[in-house]
């Protein structure tokens, strides 16, 4: 992508490009859909252009935020990138940094996932910008996201305030043909200007910082940050930001509505430009199009003519697709209801990849501890739900605290405590599992913890974890961390060795029964998608097969299909993990070339 002036870029690539073009020198992130490719791209560009920037995957979003913020305090332009629920993890430093302020331009990229497609919630990060009292830009397209990066840095430096850039999935994962400017190396002069009034203000001083913050946000609200389109003389208006504006613009063109509506396209939904409030008074009706919460709507002083989420014109959940926008427009124009938005029939559900080591680990857990409680966590392995091996996922790291809580509650109740087996991925374990594990050890909570260690953050594209030794980084050994948490029983097993994996889980459970406290099994095998190892062979169906289809049903392996009376092995997909060989009750499957 380097050296060319015109390219089709993913929104996240465009944001990465703009951050570097605008001179960011520290960029930190924790991977999460839809934000992951921003830092992926920064790291690639850094290598290709030999930039002297610090670009790193942090252990979690809070740490990422603080690493980027410190560079800003030293005077350098900085950015931290995360998905919306990652911002919950970083909310603590965000709230405080709004008070302390910044020095070098500081951008918080929080990528939202209306729908949601790949998240636990469809929360609106703009509302957290309002909560923290920092300005937020809401791009409609990759092109606009690029332009807003420069504006956000400028605003951040002028008011010494963190600024949020809030793209949504269809900005992050839209591709658009773009004109690119070159990236030039910058070398900011950095020093920590001792400023205890801001950087080290004790509680009693924070009142003054809060007043400063309120002044800043009040002044920013005076700056217009919207454009007027359509027909300003019409008697109906639409206020739109983000991707819904893009839908609106395309719809107005294809339906010929340009003369019938005034459109105010807002770039900065918080603080809502004060000038906009007055302009809206002359319209008979005003429709708000924004995702996913009524952030602009709540700031409007005129309430009687406003249509949006609060009066039910716009549904309060789900993304604002062009269909939803069309229905809202028809209603505003008094053209009658269009009825419910149709939905295409459900497609085939997501499932673990062929050869995924998680599949074998889940099967072994169910075999070793049938009838157990299985709290799980955030990652590819949530798909263990399909296999009946996942009972819950809440948020990063919660598998361990939930297992602890289930144990402590059930122990105190009448009746037997069923086996409890938590599962968590390696990256998620480092991110938020470690404090939970220490707590479980301390409380002597008895459960089995299986850490599914595939050597990467697989769901988001295989980013490194603290256990990776890439680029001269120190690899933090997971075994040492687990033992350091105080865990007394630990085994490391290759889940492809199914009998051994079953045995290890049983032994771990026995330990918890005999000695109390958690026992850990590290189920270790690299993600085949990311390690790109050659296939280990292909499974053959022999004459012994009775066509019971246990292999198809119990593994949900994409390489196995129900054929005519017998399972069918899709040879180009089979990776020869051999799990189905163990699953088959007739012993009718064989691994060839393994």
């Amino acid at each position: 992508m380097v050296g060319l002036k015109r390219r089709v870029l993913l929104g996240n690539e465009a944001i990465a490009w703009a951050l570097l073009q605008e001179g960011a020198t520290v960029l930190s992130s924790y991977p999460g859909t839809p934000a992951s490719e921003i830092l992926d791209t920064v790291i690639k560009l850094k290598a290709v252009l030999q930039l002297r920037v610090h670009a790193s995957w942090a252990i979690n979003e809070k740490v990422a935020f603080e690493i980027a913020l410190s560079n800003s305090w030293l005077g350098g332009r900085s950015a931290v990138m995360m998905k919306q629920v990652g911002l919950n993890v970083a909310l603590d430093p965000l709230m405080s940094a709004a008070y302390t302020g910044v020095k070098g331009g500081f951008i918080v990229v929080a990528a939202d996932d209306p729908g949601p497609y790949s998240s636990q919630t469809e929360q609106d990060s703009r509302l957290l910008a309002l909560f923290a009292k920092i300005p937020v830009f809401d791009p409609s397209t990759p092109q606009e996201a690029m332009e807003m990066v420069g504006r956000a840095f400028e605003l951040s430096e002028r008011f010494r305030i963190p600024v949020m850039l809030r793209p949504t999935s269809w900005v992050c994962h839209a591709r658009q043909g773009l004109q690119l400017r070159g990236i030039e190396a910058v070398e900011p002069s950095l020093s920590l200007e001792k400023d205890p009034y801001h950087w080290a203000a004790p509680p009693r001083q924070r009142f003054r910082l809060h007043r400063e913050l309120n002044q800043k946000i009040g002044e920013i609200a005076e700056e217009d940050s919207f454009s007027t389109l359509g027909n300003p003389e019409a008697d109906l208006a639409v206020v739109a930001s983000g991707v819904p504006f893009a839908h609106l613009r395309d719809l107005m063109r294809s339906l010929g509505l340009e003369d019938r509506l005034a459109v105010f396209k807002v770039d900065r939904p918080f603080p809502l430009p004060r000038g906009l409030q007055g302009l809206l008074r002359r319209y008979r009706g005003v429709l708000l199009l924004e995702e996913t919460y009524p952030v602009m709507e709540l700031q409007l002083s005129l309430r009687d003519r406003v249509h949006g989420r609060l009066d039910g014109t716009i549904p309060s959940e789900g993304e604002l697709t062009p269909e939803v926008v069309l229905r809202a427009l028809r209603r505003l124009l008094g053209e009658g209801p269009l009825g419910e938005v149709p939905r295409p029939p459900e497609g085939s559900r997501s499932r673990l990849c062929p050869g995924c080591p998680h599949r074998a680990a889940f099967w072994a857990i169910k075999e070793a501890l049938p009838g157990g409680i299985y709290p799980s966590d955030i990652g590819c392995y949530t798909l263990g739900l399909n296999l009946g091996a996942v009972d819950s996922f809440l948020c990063m790291g919660a598998s361990i605290s939930l297992a602890e809580g289930f144990y402590l509650s059930l122990k105190g109740s009448a009746g037997e405590v069923p086996p409890i087996c938590a599962t968590i991925g390696d990256s998620t374990f480092f991110h938020a599992g470690v404090p939970a594990l220490i707590d479980a050890v301390h409380q002597r909570a008895s459960f089995v913890l299986v850490i599914m260690d595939n050597g990467s953050t697989a769901m988001t594209g295989g980013q490194p974890t603290p256990a990776s030794a890439e680029d001269g980084k120190k690899a933090v050994e997971m075994e040492e961390v687990v033992r350091g948490c105080g865990v007394e029983h630990l085994q490391v097993v290759d889940p492809y060795d199914v009998p051994r994996m079953v045995k290890a889980v049983k032994e771990a459970y026995r330990f918890t029964q005999l000695h109390g406290g958690p026992a850990v099994v590290i189920s270790r095998r690299p993600c085949p998608l990311i390690a790109r190892e050659p296939s280990r062979g292909v499974v053959r169906v022999t004459e012994e097969c009775t066509g019971c289809m246990s292999c198809v049903e119990e593994t949900e392996c994409p390489a196995l299909e129900e054929g005519e009376g017998r399972p069918l092995v899709l040879e180009d997909l089979c990776r020869g993990c051999g799990l189905c060989v163990y699953v088959c009750p007739m012993g009718a499957l064989e691994l060839e070339g393994g």
């Binding site: 269909e323 997501s350 990849c353």
Partner: protein, 169 residues
């Protein structure tokens, strides 16, 4: 030019790759493009769709009944996503059913000893059927984006699709 394409398949079938090639190839011939693609959880083996809009558009999403072309890796995925197609729009499917725009892409890919190239057979066929897009820039993009060991096979798959005759002759 104003052209809207929906590409439907399952995670792992190369829908993303085809989307990239289509968008970049069209952009290199001077057309503005904007497209969507599926990432993350939704990508793991489940049904995925991409949408590509060529022309003066801002939104990457296609409204139901507005797509000019639906490219699908199977009959099921085609049926599921017909809702996107406009009246008179075309469906290019990987199928042996013998419909006007059906092509046995998987069969051709196996013939080429390149089972994963079925996606590019489909794309080649689609480009051949479209008015106003030259194949050259797409081949250029395929060459740039393919891992070197797949480049030749991918180009062959694309060309086989391109040469396939639909009802246009």
């Amino acid at each position: 030019m104003a052209f809207r394409v929906v590409i439907a398949g399952r995670g792992g079938e190369g829908v993303l790759f085809v989307t990239r090639v289509l968008a970049e190839g069209a952009f290199r011939q001077g057309h503005p493009v904007i497209s969507t693609e599926t990432h993350g959880m939704a990508q793991r083996g489940g049904s995925v769709i991409s949408q590509v809009k060529i022309g003066d558009f801002l939104s990457p999403m296609i409204r139901y009944g507005e797509a000019d072309l639906l490219i699908a890796t199977s009959e099921e995925e085609a049926a599921r996503n017909l809702i996107y197609l406009r009246d008179g729009g075309k469906v290019i499917r990987d199928s042996r059913a013998g419909g006007p725009y059906d092509i046995d892409a998987r069969g051709i890919a196996y013939e080429l000893d390149h089972p994963r190239g079925a996606n590019l057979v489909l794309l080649g066929f689609a480009i051949g059927e479209l008015e106003g897009l030259k194949p050259g820039p797409f081949e250029e993009v395929i060459t740039e984006l393919s891992p070197s060991r797949w480049t030749q096979k991918n180009l062959e798959a694309f060309r086989r699709g391109l040469l396939h005759r639909g009802p246009k002759g």
